[in-house]
């Protein structure tokens, strides 16, 4: 039997190799994503110079040419791409191609905390609700509660997030005036004291967080239930039961750990959906987050800002996958001990 030190070093080496391999592969994927996005976006009709030239009767062809030279759009596409990648390697996303011409990174950094914050809060809520719900429905399969939850899950899957948002606005904001329906803060925000500021902010975030949470809840609780059912069929659960362990001990100590594993992976995979969903939800509640920024960038054909957002989205997705993979490796002894093998 190996000593603890050897064991943990082996374990560490296995995970490190996996992470290295995975990271290398992810850089390739990232390269593929930037390549496809860059060419699709630059080849599609419309250009960032449109807003200030074609749509403005006072500006002529000369002004357009000047803008194109300013933005570097007059060069061949592959040269532009190469240039962009080289700058990206130095974490320079370039300047926005809109009138304010601020660095893309600054613009994104302003918006990121809100989007990530709201998503994280709702993610925690989803896990806190979905995991117990999944366990209970799996343990009492086909009970009344299980049936009820199943119906709710199907409704949750079919519910368009923006419709739920509208209904919540209608009920809590317009009918009853319980909660504010748009924006992040009230008009008198600067005059409020610290605690009032906090409660004002929280009030504004209740509805968006609810919409995000309901969106994630259906999938997560269903998945948790499926994983739990799968685990409960295993032989080691039968063993645990026949040892005379209580239902409580079997579920919490033997089944839960194993059933949670696939859920970790699902978390990693749900990142692109969350990012995409933020465009719609932020536009409904007029939240100044990343989704709104992206929408505005697309509408203005702001190439650098669009690319910055896409790269960020891809990096977050890949990071989510990697993190899920590492957690999986740490939690599952079967993977922990087999070296490598992505």
């Amino acid at each position: 039997m190996p000593g603890t030190a050897v064991f943990s070093r082996r374990r560490f080496a296995g995970i490190a190799i996996r992470v290295l391999r995975k990271t290398f592969w992810m850089l390739l994927v990232l390269f593929g994503i930037t390549c496809i996005s860059f060419f699709v976006i630059h080849l599609a009709p419309g250009a960032p110079s449109d807003a200030e030239t074609t749509l403005n009767p006072l500006a002529g062809e000369a002004a357009r040419r000047q803008l194109e030279i300013l933005y570097g759009l007059d060069r061949p596409l592959h040269v532009q791409y190469f240039d962009w990648v080289v700058r990206l390697l130095r974490f320079d996303f370039g300047n926005s191609m809109s009138a304010d011409a601020r660095p893309v990174l600054t613009k994104i950094a302003e918006r990121l905390p809100l989007t990530i914050g709201v998503n994280l809060i709702s993610l925690v809520l989803v896990l806190v609700i979905a995991i117990p719900l999944g366990i209970i429905t799996a343990c009492k399969q086909n009970s009344l509660l299980d049936r009820l939850v199943t119906i709710l899950v199907f409704l949750g899957f079919a519910m368009p997030s923006f419709w739920l948002a509208l209904l919540l606005m209608l009920f809590f904001g317009i009918e009853h005036h319980w909660l504010p329906v748009s924006g992040l803060t009230s008009l008198n925000f600067p005059e409020l004291g610290f605690w009032d500021k906090c409660s004002d902010l929280a009030n504004h975030l209740v509805l968006p967080v609810t919409v995000y949470t309901v969106g994630g809840l259906a999938g997560m609780s269903r998945y948790m239930r499926a994983c739990m059912l799968e685990v409960l069929r295993q032989d080691y659960i039968l063993t645990a039961r026949s040892k005379g362990l209580s239902q409580h001990a079997v579920i919490l100590h033997h089944a839960l750990r194993n059933a949670l594993l696939p859920v970790i992976t699902l978390l990693g995979l749900s990142v692109p959906g969350l990012i995409g969903g933020s465009v719609i939800i932020e536009s409904i509640f007029a939240l100044p987050g990343l989704g709104q920024l992206f929408y505005a960038a697309v509408m203005a054909r702001d190439y650098t800002l669009i690319m910055g957002n896409l790269v960020l989205g891809a990096v977050l997705t890949l990071a989510g996958n990697l993190l899920a993979d590492v957690c999986y490796g740490l939690a599952d002894p079967r993977i922990r001990l087999s070296k490598g093998g992505v």
Partner: protein, 278 residues
Amino acid sequence: MNITLPPCFAGRHVMLIPGAVIVLVMSLAAICAPLLAPYPPFDLHLNHILEPPSTRFWLGTDRLGRDVFSRMLYGGRVSLWIGFVAVGISVGIGTALGLISGYYRGWVDEVIMRAVDIMLCFPSFFLILAVIAFLEPDMTNIMVVIGLTSWMGVARLVRAETLSLREREFVAAARLAGLLSRRILFSHILPNALAPVLITATLGVAGAILVESGLSFLGLGVQPPTASWGNMLMEGKAVIGTAPWLSVYPGLAILVTVLGYNLLGEYLREILDPRTKQ
């Protein structure tokens, strides 16, 4: 008290009835929209602007005095049509790539599966949004873009199915009989791999309808005056305080339709997928 339900309400058939009924009713409503609609969808009743539901206008009227019920019927046509074509495209691409990948294996498989991985890492709604905004949002573009960004699941499923089918005896027999690979793929492997495709396609229609309505809600989908459930909700949001019915009914239609396709898809999975059989 012990109530025995008819078999169609028990166990795994419980999803068939509501699913099939919803899908059937919604499809019929869409097909027969011109017969069922009380008014043409573009008719302006300028004396009846923003009227709440009544016997004359069953679900009320919108900002231009158009009948909401009639527009919802026509909107259903648009949503279902986009859903079906988009899924057709994604199933077509996914099945073809999955078959090739699973049958030829080796580097072809490697390349296709890595492409699947790349596509899965795309924040796809971002990309759809960008492409649609650039290409002018019309129905063809929406269908094509949704189709092109949702084939990965089908490709993985078909590949897995093909990998196991190609080792079976009947495929070996076909190969011994000297059949061309193309013939083996299309007449022997494909028909046997159709069950999972059918399941994903049914669930895919629901997904595509959701994406389309989301795009239309943002103003980047089906463009007014053509009605779609998404853009009706967008128009409703502007007057949500005075005319809440505009924000309620089109969303209900989306919910019910998506629910129907999901139920039907889950039912098909229950009866066709051997893994869910106990």
